[in-house]
């Protein structure tokens, strides 16, 4: 490994805003999102030996977060805490920032997507990754990414349109 752990620590710290945004797009509120970031960062430190020299730290961290998120959902589902992602029990915390930026509506719509589509949408539309980079993080072929993204987008657009109609009614 070429970098010292100070350098790695600094680079992870610089990624925190993006990691929080990615986590927020997968979670229902910022608190859950920050728990996910913490889990991912701790995992990254434990498995630092798996980071290949010259590999993209951001892609690697996003991949770890993806796995942590999926593990988390599976565990909660096994325990019977959630039947489906959208039934995550307590009402989501709505912070002023959520409502201000129209974040809440978008976040709720994201929450209704199947996991695989949510990941594709989060990486491409929220994080702005190229299809190639997103497919790399998710460890899936480009064609799979494209079809998940297309389906996720269509469902999201329908959900947001539905919700806009609900607001007017």
């Amino acid at each position: 490994m070429s970098d010292t752990s100070e350098e790695i620590g600094e680079r992870i710290a610089l990624l925190l805003p993006r990691l929080r945004r990615f986590a927020r797009s997968l979670s229902r509120n910022q608190h859950d999102a920050d728990d996910l970031v913490q889990t991912a960062v701790e995992r990254a430190w434990r498995h630092l030996d798996q980071l290949r020299p010259g590999a993209n730290l951001a892609s690697w961290m996003f991949g770890i977060m993806k796995n942590a998120w999926l593990d988390n959902l599976r565990t909660r589902r096994r325990r019977g805490e959630v039947a489906l992602p959208e039934d995550s029990g307590d009402h989501p915390a709505v912070s002023p920032i959520d409502t201000e930026a129209g974040l809440w509506a978008v976040s709720e719509a994201m929450n209704k997507l199947p996991e695989e589509q949510r990941l594709a949408v989060a990486l491409v539309l929220v994080e702005g990754m190229s299809y190639k980079e997103a497919a790399g993080v998710l460890e899936i072929p480009m064609g799979t990414l494209t079809s998940r993204l297309a389906r996720g987008r269509a469902a999201l657009a329908a959900e947001l349109a539905e919700e806009a109609r609900g607001d007017i009614a």
């Binding site: 010292t4 100070e6 925190l16 945004r21 630092l48």
Partner: protein
């Protein structure tokens, strides 16, 4: 040519190569429905990016800053490095609405006010005049609508003509983009005048996009879709309509 939704999506995301892009842009120029679908893809992307971008400006919780550097404390190889470390810890997260953002918002608001003022005050910009039934094209805009062919534009013209089509009541309409004013609009020829039923601020044609229709805002595209009878005119149809001086025949 038919394009499936995945291809349009990839186009909206900037994932296609130059040859594929050119094909789609040519198709968009003829088909406002296609243009609208691309716009919807772009709009959803912008909404998603915009909604979550606020997270980037929030202060980072202490516990995450600590977690990011936990390994630094656990197996720091050189103490000397650790000492200078805290200085770099203090990231300055940008405040949600600093002076810069307020100034930017005020500026864009002022720009919008100036823009509509320039559009609406008769004779001020020389491109519009308030007529009985609404705005009428004047000056360079009227000349472009009357004589400019979309098929022969270099992309450098101050007024870019986009789609030309016939409406349900048999009149000709043409979409246009005023490049300098970042304004897109629709003009329809009624009683020898180019009436302007709609204008909208527009980001302007994107780099590498010669087709003015690609830059039309969704609101304009929807009006076009509602009014258009059949398909948009191709280069030949456009030229014939001009030869007939836009006099519609049933």
């Amino acid at each position: 040519m038919k394009f499936d939704d995945e291809t349009l999506m990839a186009y909206a995301d900037g994932e296609l190569d130059a040859a594929q892009r050119a094909q789609i842009e040519a198709a968009i120029a003829q088909d406002p429905g296609l243009a609208l679908r691309v716009q919807e893809h772009k709009a959803l992307r912008a909404r998603m990016t915009g909604a979550f971008s606020r997270v980037l400006d929030q202060p980072i919780p202490e516990r995450l800053e600590a977690a990011a550097r936990v390994g630094t404390r656990a197996d720091a190889p050189a103490r000397g490095n650790v000492i200078k470390f805290p200085a770099r810890v203090t990231r300055a997260p940008s405040p949600p609405w600093g002076a810069r953002e307020w100034i930017a918002m005020a500026a864009s608001l002022l720009f919008g006010v100036l823009l509509s003022w320039r559009l609406l005050v008769p004779g001020n910009s020389g491109l519009f005049e308030a007529g009985k039934g609404g705005l009428l094209a004047r000056g360079e805009l009227a000349r472009a609508l009357e004589s400019q062919l979309a098929s022969q534009q270099s992309g450098e013209e101050r007024v870019l003509i986009g789609l030309t089509f016939k409406t349900h009541d048999g009149n000709y309409c043409r979409s246009f983009v005023l490049r300098a004013a970042h304004t897109a609009g629709l003009a329809c020829r009624v009683d020898s005048e180019w009436q302007i039923p709609a204008t909208e601020s527009s980001p302007g044609p994107e780099a590498g996009m010669q087709q003015a229709s690609a830059a039309l805002p969704p609101s304009i595209l929807r009006i076009i879709e509602a009014r258009m009878e059949g398909a948009a005119l191709d280069a030949e149809g456009e030229e014939n309509a001009r030869l007939d001086t836009w006099n519609s025949s049933p």
